[in-house]
């Protein structure tokens, strides 16, 4: 059964200082309710919207990064519906329909999924305003009324809509990872901020009705919700049932989707161009200027990493899609030249521990030279891979001074040949079978080397150990 998934992603343009249509401060999360407001974003009678220039510029930048066609004019429309979080009871938004144009359309994002390159098409990008937020004292059921905070009202949103080109929940995650990376590289959105990123997912089994899951707040939840939905839908279809078109809500805690109540209001939004906002003309000069100022984007950086650092696509991609990690890596390459080793440790242990320790990647105390130091010690044989792995969390947390540690543990390398020879002879005596293997197959010497390492707590000089062992073995041959 073929599965068709389309996504509608709403992101707040979090790096703007003011709101979309007024000059109110946009960092509303820090404030008490209804303190980041003004007559315009409260929708007081007689107020009028004025467009934030930077919001348009960011929208164009995002559109370019997503390979879209940019409209020659931005037309804002009014989308009418009644709801307490919507001060004017219409939202100033954009619309894709005859006569009206969104700011951008017909783009794509390249992803690597199921072992192949795939292009997920972007249908359109809209700019619109965020409504306020509704709260309840206690739970929704018991509350007799709602409480509305308009701080968020008027915050700029970009709505990015894909074609139903995504064919699995996993692919949806891969797509979203890539999209978020692009947006972070542009500096358009800081997804660590609560509410800055929301997804509506549309999913259908080919031939059956489309189900929309609204308002999912994280990429992980998108994947989970889609996985749940597919199973739910497949079960219905297999039992001969049919899927009706509906809207559902993802319940994070229970891990299920539930039907949303039927819409109380008519779905006729009565779109028409906002008479308070004449169309904004976008010239080629403006677009080219923005294009020329675009920072290096993920795809470009991945290619550069491949060429400059000789990494394979997989490693390059993992690094680049976590921008902070790629930045960390590049800092490291300035003082360490075994790029592959550095990339390896970063994308495995380092990344895993940072996530496990739930650290804020913007405030890491560990620096690239800390990791490089570990790797240099590894290269010299002072530390083994196992030790590096063990020490990693402490290094990340900044709890350890490596030099001190080495000194304290006496972790200096053993390169005293006499001593090593003693240990080697001991080891050979204790492992007759291994010796036989090694005499037949030279590669099997590693087992013996490993045993010696164990005996010496990993401190034996690997090269000297190897030489001594070879000598012993050769003497056995004769």
């Amino acid at each position: 059964m073929k599965v068709l998934i389309g996504l509608e992603i709403h992101i707040q343009l979090t790096s703007l200082a003011s709101k979309l249509f007024c000059s109110t401060h946009s960092n509303y999360r820090e404030g008490n309710p209804n303190t980041y407001v003004c007559p315009v974003c409260l929708g007081l009678p007689g107020t009028l919207p004025v467009v934030n220039r930077k919001a348009i510029e960011y929208a164009i930048a995002v559109a370019k990064a997503l390979n879209c066609e940019i409209s020659d004019r931005v037309v804002f429309v009014r989308k009418h519906y009644f709801y307490p979080d919507l001060p004017k009871n219409y939202q100033i938004s954009q619309y894709d329909g005859p006569g009206f144009t969104p700011i951008a359309r017909n783009g794509y994002i390249k992803i690597f999924s199921n072992g192949r390159t795939k292009f997920i098409r972007i249908r359109r990008i809209n700019i619109e305003e965020d409504p306020g937020k509704i709260h309840y004292i206690g739970g929704i059921e018991e509350a007799q009324y709602s409480l509305v905070d308009y701080n968020r009202s008027g915050i700029p949103l970009l709505e990015i809509v894909t074609e139903p080109d995504i064919d699995s929940p996993k692919e949806a995650r891969i797509f979203l990872d890539k999209l978020i990376a692009i947006l972070e590289y542009l500096g358009a959105v800081d997804t660590a901020l609560e509410g800055s990123f929301r997804v509506d997912a549309n999913i259908s089994i080919e031939g059956y009705g489309r189900v929309e899951i609204k308002n999912i707040g994280s990429i992980k939840d998108v994947e989970k919700a889609l996985m749940y939905e597919i199973v739910r839908q497949k079960r219905i279809v297999e039992q001969g049932g049919t899927i009706a078109r509906e809207t559902r809500h993802w319940d994070e805690r229970k891990g299920i989707t539930v039907p949303l109540r039927a819409k109380e209001f008519e779905e006729d939004y009565r779109y028409f161009p906002d008479p308070d906002l004449p169309p904004i003309r976008i010239s080629n000069e403006v677009v080219n200027r923005i294009l020329s100022r675009l920072p290096e984007l993920p795809d470009q950086r991945i290619e550069r990493f491949i060429m400059q650092y000789n990494l394979d696509e997989y490693r390059a991609t993992v690094l680049v899609l976590n921008k902070w990690l790629a930045d960390f890596f590049e800092e490291g390459t300035k003082i360490y030249s075994n790029y592959k080793r550095l990339a390896d440790v970063l994308i495995t242990d380092f990344l895993r521990w940072v996530k496990e320790l739930s650290l804020d990647v913007k405030k890491l105390s560990v620096k690239p030279h800390d990791i490089v130091k570990l790797l240099e010690l590894l290269d010299r044989g002072v530390l083994s891979i196992k030790m590096v792995k063990e020490l990693m969390p402490q290094v990340i947390r900044g709890e350890i001074d490596i030099d001190e540690y080495i000194r304290a543990m006496g972790y200096t390398r053993i390169d005293d040949e006499q001593y090593l020879e003693q240990i080697a002879l001991e080891t050979v005596r204790e492992n007759p079978k291994a010796v036989e293997d090694a005499l037949r197959n030279p590669k099997a010497i590693n087992f013996l080397i490993g045993a010696i390492m164990k005996k010496t707590g990993g401190r034996a000089d690997p090269q000297k150990t190897r030489d001594i062992l070879m000598k012993i073995l050769n003497s056995r041959r004769m």
Partner: protein, 99 residues
């Protein structure tokens, strides 16, 4: 001729969240009939489709505002006080979940 059925009035009432009283309904069905007939006279103009709709009377582009933020309002602002019902700074509003 538009025949203003109950359905249409009911539909419009729900669309704009307004109710007409019985007297008003009687009055409006007569009036709207006449008004919509007037509106329909536009159909008689030949070749009107040759013209693009004129949404804005002047050919100006919306001005763009520089991205500068004003100072945050202080807690004692009067934009809502006196005009809205406030509970701990929030605006009191009806519920959005319906049984």
């Amino acid at each position: 001729m538009l025949i203003l059925s109950e359905d249409l009035i009911g539909y419009l009432e729900r669309l704009v969240l307004i109710k007409f009283s019985d007297i008003e309904r009687k009055r409006i069905s007569v009036e709207v009939d006449k008004i919509v007939s007037l509106f329909n006279e536009l159909k008689n103009i030949e070749n009107l489709d040759r013209y693009e709709p004129l949404f804005h009377v002047h050919e100006i582009s919306s001005p763009l505002r520089e991205d500068e933020a004003l100072d945050k309002v202080d807690e004692e602002h009067d934009m809502l006080r006196g005009n809205a019902l406030l509970v701990h700074g929030y605006v009191k509003a009806p519920k959005t979940m319906v049984e």
